[in-house]
Every structure is written in structure tokens, then in C-alpha cells.
Symmetry: C2
């Protein structure tokens, strides 16, 4: 029996150190400013070990001293915080008609964002554009390539040849080869590839309403509707990287079964309004229709909320998340309206009296959500201990 062993990392002093460094960074990021003793208690390491690690991190420019706090008796705590310019992450969102890029610093603050129209969706064009934009961004922000920790790429899923291939949002030519590897070879950087929903979820976890949450679901309004799943502080990818393809499951609207995406997505609202002779091309159009209480839009919103209620029941019962977040390329007012109208299923494991978070929340909205999420993938990696990471 020649069964291949899945490579998994054993622990040696070097990797242990790297693991502990990320653990310390993560702890500091989590609370903003902490002392060494507290980190030691939380990590199960000795204060001495934490002290040594912090002195390392200070040397690497990833931390700054953040004043002393006198907490009751004893010597006041020397606190530390993440140094914002200690590192940068590049985020890229690839769409058929344009490439969006963002450069964010170590705490997740965007330094620069760009939208570059594509004259062709060819693979080579995309690779060249991304590469050019990366150098452009570094030059403009006066950041050395050494300070760049990696690039996150958002691409429309599903990846590989599946039963959903043929969907509108797809890019040609990416079915063969591993996109992460292709980008890594082009950019000479660590690269992380995810779909828009997963990336948006990470963005929300880094600097949004999901901050500090380790188990949540994120419904992302893009072209269609995607589901980003964070379980145990990690993105749930599935065996082939296509988990969260929620758009094509059947839900109920007015007693009929429809594909979720056909009731709840940007394409859906555009199509619905187009049938009424209303052309909607951007978010502003939607906002103005909404503020004028357009009947057709309100009708669509009701159906979307119904569909969402079905989806919510499925998500809650299958994942038992801390909360479900709604976000993406839709105006705030629209998302808020949908959330207010979505019936929270009673027969759900999430219908518990001792909840700490609402069952449905609005996340960051707007066109850049996924792009910032792409950058967040890199930051997440930097703050996640690596030993025993199976992939």
C-alpha cells in the first residue's frame, strides 16, 4: 500500500519560536495593548519567554512600546502594541472588467486603493496588471518591497471544473493550475487566494463588526451571493476550496422554490428592476430608488428578505455561528432594510436566549470590501500560529 503522507509540520525550536511570535502578535492585536505577564498567562509560556519574544519583535519593528499602565498593586505594566508601519499587505480583487487593489498597513488601515479597468480578461493581462500595480503602489506609498508581507487575491469562484462552471462571473483560463502558485511566481511574494465572501469575512474579522469573533458566517453580496465561513478562527475552505457556494441552493419565496441567488443578489435586483423598465447600473441609482420608496424595489426587497430567512435557517443550523453578517457591494440602507425585514427562524440552534451578538448584523459595505479582505488574508496569516497548520 503506497499511501502518500500528507505533509504536516513537526515542531522544532525554530518553528516553535515562529509559532510563539505569531501567538504573541495575535494576543497584542486582540486587545490593543498588553503587558508581558498577561500574554504569558494566556499562552502558557513563561514571562521570560514572552519577554524575549517581544524584544525580538521590537527589533523587527513589528511592535512599539505603548506607555505604562498601573494596574493595582505591583510594578506598572509596560504595554506593547502593533506598530502600524511594521509591515504591509497588498490586496487584489480580480473581476472580469477591472482589477481593484489596496495596500494596507499592519493594523489594517488602507494606505492606498485603486481601480484599474481591464481591456481584456485574459490571464496574461491580469497577471501583468497586478504586477504593475503592485510596484506602482509600493513606489507611490514609498514602501520597500521587504516590508510587504504578502498578497491576497480575490477571484470569483468556484475553483476548478465543477457543476457550477459556466456561471456569469467567471474568468477564463484559470481552471488549470493553482492560481495561488501562478500569482506567487509572478509577484515573488507569499500569496493567498480566496473567493470574495471568504475575504470579506476576514476583513470584517480584522477591523469590522466580527472583530474578535472566531465562528461566524458572512453573506456577501457580489455579482451573486457568496457565503464566507469562519470556524475556529479559520476560513472554512472545503476539500477543493469551494465551500460556501450558497447562491445555488433552493429556498422559498412566496411558497415557491427558487435559487437563492436569483432572489438575493445584485444581478437579481438589476434584472427585477429592468423588467419594470428601470435601469440600475450603480449603487447610487439604488439608493435614490430606495429613498423615493420605489414600489418595485420594495417588492424585491421583501422577496430577498424571504429568501434570506430560508438561507439563515440553513446557515444557523448547519454551522451554529456566533452571528451571521450581511455585507458586500450593496448600499447600507438596502442591507439595513433587508436585515430589518428578514424573519429570524424560530426552529434554529441559534435561537438561544443567552446570545451575545444579534443573529443578523450588517458588516462593512461598499465596493472595496472584498479587496480589503484580500489584504486581510495576509494579515490573518501573520497573526496566526503556524505549527500544525494542516494546509
Amino acid at each position: 500500500m503506497v499511501s502518500t503522507l500528507k505533509p504536516q509540520l513537526g515542531a522544532n525550536p525554530e518553528r516553535a519560536r515562529s509559532h510563539n511570535k505569531q501567538l504573541v502578535l495575535r494576543a497584542i492585536r486582540h486587545v490593543g495593548a498588553v503587558g508581558r505577564a498577561e500574554i504569558a498567562r494566556a499562552s502558557g509560556l513563561s514571562t521570560q519567554a514572552v519577554s524575549n519574544i517581544i524584544s525580538d519583535l521590537l527589533g523587527e519593528g513589528l511592535l512599539i512600546e505603548q506607555g505604562v499602565r498601573s494596574a493595582g498593586r505591583g510594578l506598572p505594566v509596560q504595554q506593547y502594541a502593533i506598530k502600524p508601519d511594521g509591515g504591509y499587505a497588498f490586496g487584489v480583487e480580480v473581476r472580469p472588467t477591472a482589477v481593484f487593489t489596496a495596500l494596507v498597513d499592519l493594523v489594517g488601515t488602507p494606505v492606498l486603493t485603486r481601480r484599474i479597468p481591464l481591456h481584456s480578461a485574459a490571464k496574461s493581462t491580469i497577471l501583468e496588471t497586478v504586477k504593475a500595480q503592485l510596484h506602482c503602489a509600493l513606489t507611490e506609498a514609498k514602501i520597500s518591497k521587504g516590508a510587504l508581507m504578502g498578497a491576497g487575491i480575490v477571484m470569483p469562484g468556484p475553483f476548478g471544473d465543477t457543476g457550477l462552471t459556466g456561471t456569469a462571473s467567471e474568468l477564463p483560463g484559470w481552471n488549470i493550475g493553482d492560481p495561488a502558485e501562478i500569482f506567487a511566481n509572478t509577484l515573488h511574494l507569499p500569496v493567498f487566494v480566496e473567493n470574495d465572501a471568504n475575504a470579506a469575512a476576514m476583513a470584517e474579522r480584522m477591523n469590522g463588526v466580527a472583530r474578535g469573533l472566531d465562528d461566524f458566517a458572512y453573506l456577501y453580496f457580489g455579482q451573486g451571493l457568496g457565503l464566507g465561513l469562519v470556524q475556529n478562527a479559520q476560513i472554512l475552505q472545503g476539500a477543493f476550496g469551494n465551500a460556501g457556494e450558497i447562491g445555488h441552493i433552493q429556498v422559498f419565496v412566496d411558497g415557491h422554490a427558487v435559487e437563492l441567488e436569483s432572489a438575493t443578489s445584485r444581478l437579481s435586483v438589476q434584472a427585477c428592476l429592468a423588467r419594470e423598465g428601470l435601469e440600475v447600473t450603480n449603487m447610487e441609482d439604488l439608493i435614490s430608488l430606495y429613498s423615493s420608496a420605489n414600489r418595485h424595489l420594495l417588492l424585491w426587497l421583501d422577496k430577498a428578505a424571504q429568501a434570506l430567512s430560508s438561507a439563515l435557517s440553513i446557515i444557523e443550523n448547519l454551522f451554529d455561528p456566533q452571528t451571521v453578517i450581511l455585507g458586500g457591494a450593496m448600499p447600507d440602507v438596502i442591507l439595513d432594510h433587508i436585515i430589518a425585514r428578514t424573519a429570524l427562524p424560530e426552529r434554529s440552534v441559534s435561537n438561544r436566549p443567552d446570545r451575545a451578538h444579534p443573529r443578523l448584523m450588517r458588516g462593512t459595505s461598499g465596493r472595496m470590501t472584498a479587496t480589503l479582505g484580500a489584504a486581510a488574508l495576509v494579515l490573518h496569516q501573520a497573526f496566526t500560529p503556524t505549527i500544525a497548520e494542516a494546509r
Copy 2:
């Protein structure tokens, strides 16, 4: 801001060793018999380190030498394998009317199984019964308590106070306090608590059709219908331990929306046949009805397959598993029939041409599946590297 830091383990030499030991055990279990060099390559450790660890494990009685294999040139490999009597795991399944127990060895072979009727479903009765049965099993199998690695407990979910509370299968009195802690204090052993579906999934992974799979879903026919989810070699538990409550989601049968569990479960088939005046109390009744091609049973099977097809679409698109396994307390013939009749959704990320496993497979069936799964929880723990385990 007083934000509590989530305890997560830092790496020190001791924990690193324990991590590496489990890594080595896992590798050996995975392929059955391996040499040191191969493990070293797979784990990223030096052969020397692996050698030292193996000599430790031999001393602890967890491994045995397993002959030499000459693999081409070079010195023949000294192979090692898990020593079956190197340790034991106790599995318990608690139901309202009876407690099932199993004692399995380190490779998962059952040494002894029992069914103990309960005269009361009171918490104290259950605890006492389990404790007595544990000692009973150890005595009978002539195994010292020191060789016992832990106990796995299967209890009907959902845990805690949820919107599904009030379901038939529940046990009274367990909503307060952590069941795992309660059992651990009673049995003085490491304890792992899961629902039936998750446990059954682990059983299948240890010694069944899911052997070697790291991402799969397991649909478990119990009283109702449960979903066990294994993602990245770990059970997906959800934020509150209630992930996989698939029984209450809405699916389509003959164009109508019904709760999945009402179309596909033991209670469902019993109720359906009872309406026709047929009383079914055990699996043998079902088998004989099936072999006589009972019209009502066949009708029910068709509806069950329809419902399952909807569920399959949801599971595949949300989790993107390697395969979906059907198993539990139903006869093989029934499961096989359902599998044969279940339409595999076309619009699914799992509908890919390059599949290595069927989309729907039959797992171990029979009443003991979940009980053996309970024991498998302990074994899984023993073979899973621990550093950075977040829970």
C-alpha cells in the same frame, strides 16, 4: 478595555515533543507500517528526531516493530505499526431508554460492547450506570485503568437552550453545566462529548469508508437525522457545539416544503408505516418489509430520496466535501436503496469530473455506529497533534 485573551498554547520543548509524538503516531496509523525516514520527510523533522520519538513510543508500548521491507536500494526500512493493545478507549452512547458502551483498542477494534436498559433517564442514574459499566468493562477485558486513554460520550443534541429545545430525543437535566466536565469528574478520565452524527463520522474516519479522508460529511440516521462534519481532519462543532443540526431545515418533496427530518428518519418511516397500520419496532421489521417489496415502504423511500437530494445539494455547495456518507441506525439494504434513488444535484460544486470518491457512499450501519464513534473520538485525539489547538 478588559478583553479576555483566549487561552492558546505556546510551544515549549515539552509540548513540542508531545505534538511530534502525536504526529508520528498519526503518520504510522495513516499508512499502517512505515519507516523512520519516510515519517521524517513527511513531518519536516530530522530522521534523528523521529528515531528518538519512535524509541520513546516503543518504550511506552504504543508501537511495535513490523518487519523490515527492502524498498529498492539502500538499507531496508525497519517498519513500525500501532500496537493494538497499547491503549484503549471507552465509548458511551446515552439514549433516553438505554446506554450503549464499547471498549475499543488503539487501532479501533471493539473488545467488548454492551447495551444496558435504563429504568430512568435521570442524570444521576445515567452517570452511575456509565461509571459502573466502565469498571465492569475494564474488569471483564482484564485491562488496567492506566491503559484507558479516555472516554467518548455521545448524547443527543442540541446542547444548551436553543430554538430546537423540546425535540423528542432530548434528555432532561443536561442543559445546565458542561456535560464533558460532569462526566470527566465522575469517570476521572479525559472525556469528549459529541452528538451521534459527529461521533459516527469519526468512527467512519478511523476504520470505515472515510479512512484517510479529511473533509467529508456524514448523514446519520438516528432518531432523527444528524449531520457530522469533518473539515480539515477536525470535527466542525460550531460556536456552541450545535453545528450539523440538519434535521430541521426545509427541503422539497413532491414540490412541497417539508422539514428534512419529517421525510428522512427512523421516526419518519415508523410514523409513515403506522398510518398504514404497519407497526415497525426494529430493523428486522424494516428488512422484511423491504424484502417483500412493501408498497408503502417503497413510497416512503422515494420521498426520503427526494428529500435527501435537496439536502445533498445544500451540503455539497456549503461544505465542498470529498464525499457524503450515509449511515447510522438503518439496515444496509435501506441505505443502499436510498442512495441508489437519490438524484445527485447537477448544480453543485461537487459535480466535478475528476472525483476520487463517489458523491454519496454508504457507511457503517447498525445500532452500534455512534457508540463506536464515541470511542473513536478518544482515538482521534490521541492521533492529533495538539499545539495550536484552539479549543
